[in-house]
Symmetry: C2
Subunit: 158 residues, 2 copies
Amino acid sequence: MNEPHIHSPASPNARPTAREQIAACGGRVTRTRLAVLEALHGSAHPLSHDELGDMLAAEAIAHDRVTLYRALDWLVERGLARRIAGGDRAWRFEVVRGAAHRHAHFHCDRCGQVLCLEQLEAAPAAALPTGYSVERAELVLHGHCAACGPEHSAAEIR
Amino acid sequence: MNEPHIHSPASPNARPTAREQIAACGGRVTRTRLAVLEALHGSAHPLSHDELGDMLAAEAIAHDRVTLYRALDWLVERGLARRIAGGDRAWRFEVVRGAAHRHAHFHCDRCGQVLCLEQLEAAPAAALPTGYSVERAELVLHGHCAACGPEHSAAEIR
DNA sequence: CTTCTAGTGCAACATTGTAGCATCTGGCGT
DNA sequence: ACGCCAGATGCTACAATGTTGCACTAGAAG
Ligand SMILES: [Mn+2]
Ligand SMILES: [Mn+2]
Ligand SMILES: [Zn+2]
Ligand SMILES: [Zn+2]
């Protein structure tokens, strides 16, 4: 830890810290929100509630599932995080980086790992029936990740 | 009902009936499978397990949720039906018509209705990391359907 | 009609997420 | 530095969706 002890905006025009982001949204900086947002910032891929729960448990933070759900809800409401649908019924969460930039994701149907496909935009431009309005699009590619390998067929799991 | 009483392949080269489809897959033609597949054939949009359950209940078929889940699993395994992910955690099911032809879907975030966007192909052609293999893509547009209207904001529900 | 296995019904369970409510605490005013 | 109190937490109970195990039924083959 090489930061000064007195909490300050650190460098004037650097990317805001998790702490600053939370405060800027008018919310209290609690250990749960801080740990969750930092975990999301530090992760290369979107994290499930369960994965986050394990990480917080390792840090002896967040003794309750519900608190984590609520922290995540709050981050999403405030636009600091984003929810991704995956193929199973569990949400994944990632930090919102560049304003919009909605990209596609890859979901490994074996291990459940989700990967961001930053290059692949999820832009539809579809012709919908009158009266329909689109708010966002979700593009998810399904298959097997490198670790799980394409050679194993579904039956071979376990 | 204008079919002959004796069950026959009806017209020689017409689209196979639900009964024929099921039999052709080597499965037993049970009331549940038959009713489900016919319901899917007759529906303009993908149906949730719950919607199907209501329809079967109205016909006094399928006295058990599990049986319906298993019938649907079977239809999907045999390639007669397809599972669609929606934004909520409930699967929708639709009949598989033209072999592949994987199209996008629209999900109304208000009423949960799912609409097929036959024109919009869900084809990715993305550059994935080495070792990753894509099996299929799911493209879901989210918003409000015509019935629910775009004017109502989220808070106004109920 | 009998037989045999695939399918069904029921109960119990698993996973993921919500709602209510009492208690605690972060940040503010003093 | 201290006390306050709305906002955050922890706990319990609940809801929605789907799965597993097992005894019983029934589709269809002979
Ligand atoms: Mn992403
Ligand atoms: Mn469709
Ligand atoms: Zn994997
Ligand atoms: Zn709607």
